[in-house]
């Protein structure tokens, strides 16, 4: 990657984002409720299958709630820096949902916990 010089203000903002990510991961009460967790899992599964879910598809998952409720839930997951959106270069109408690094870290942590529980159970 080229060593692009940045202004002190840009550097400060980027460092703030990194600090925010670390602060978000500080131990404490989980900020995800069961409904948010279910929606995040559905989105991450589709992303894992390399078929990212669009916002329209996400708000149509009737088993998880009404479109208005799901829309609010997506907004909350974005505010918690667990979901991000992107559009295809040729089509800005469809917005795709993808997990952020923080969401992937969260699932990594869950995976580790399951592994530890499995080892403890086997022992």
């Amino acid at each position: 990657m080229p060593d692009t010089p940045r202004s002190p203000l840009a550097n400060a903002y980027l460092r703030f984002l990194q600090l925010a990510r670390a602060v978000d991961a500080l131990p404490g009460a989980s900020s995800l409720d069961a409904n948010e967790s279910a929606l995040l899992e559905a989105v991450v599964l589709r992303w894992h299958e390399e078929q990212p879910m669009t916002v329209r598809e996400a708000i149509s998952i009737a088993s998880l709630g009404s479109p208005a409720t799901l829309h609010k839930r997506i907004t909350r997951l974005r505010e918690k820096n667990l979901l991000a959106t992107y559009s295809q270069p040729g089509d800005r109408r469809a917005k795709f949902l993808v997990p952020t690094q923080q969401a992937l870290d969260y699932f990594h942590h869950l995976g580790q916990s399951m592994q530890q529980a499995h080892i403890a159970h086997a022992a």
Binding site: P5, R6, P8, L9, N11, R15, L19, A22, G28, K80
Partner: protein, 193 residues
């Protein structure tokens, strides 16, 4: 990643960041005095010291301009204080106030635990940083005091309230940031849109 030969624009931005850091540090120092004066151990030493947490944030985010700003803010607070410290003690105290977190940052950078853009910063590294900073800050402040006032200083007694105050202050400030992040992100999204 700032240019090697700073342009006037970079210098102006750095000065602006230093000034902002100084202002924020002074405001939080006064707020801490207002909220927790009943927990004061000695002038400038409190069992809960919120500016201690702010030092961590300012130096991690702003780097050297942040450290310089904290030193300037501390100088201003000292000049406004009821008892004026001798010049040498005042200057060294200000430098310790601003640069102890910066030295920890540099030390962790040298040990490859932190990089200048904070890309390696995790929650564990952050807590590690807070602990190291609180140790260095308390020891440097109390050592300076001991050097200037000698036997009147109770270094082994006074170092603990400062250390604990900085740790509690840092934890409170970082968790306050954690709680306010969703609102901050909402504000940023609105301002971008």
């Amino acid at each position: 990643m700032t240019p090697r030969n700073p342009t006037p624009e970079v210098l102006v931005q750095s000065a602006l960041l230093s000034l902002t850091a100084a202002l924020l540090f002074v405001v939080l120092f006064r707020l801490n005095d207002f909220l927790f004066s009943f927990l004061q151990h000695a002038p400038g030493v409190n069992w809960v010291f919120l500016p201690g947490g702010f030092r961590v944030m300012l130096v991690l985010i702003l780097g050297l301009p942040g450290a310089f700003g904290i030193a300037v803010g501390t100088l201003w607070l000292n000049l406004q204080g009821q008892e004026l410290l001798p010049t040498g003690q005042m200057v060294l105290t200000c430098l310790a106030s601003g640069f102890s977190p910066w030295f920890v940052k540099v030390w962790m950078h040298k040990r490859h635990q932190l990089d200048s853009d904070l890309q390696k910063l995790s929650a564990v590294t952050l807590l590690h940083f807070v602990a190291l900073y609180a140790v260095l800050n308390a020891i440097s402040h109390q050592s300076i005091r001991w050097f200037f006032i000698g036997t009147q200083s109770r270094i082994w007694l006074d170092v603990w309230p400062m250390f604990i105050g900085d740790v509690i202050g840092a934890v409170v400030v970082l968790y306050a940031l954690k709680l306010s992040l969703p609102s901050l992100r909402r504000l940023l999204q609105k301002s971008v849109n």
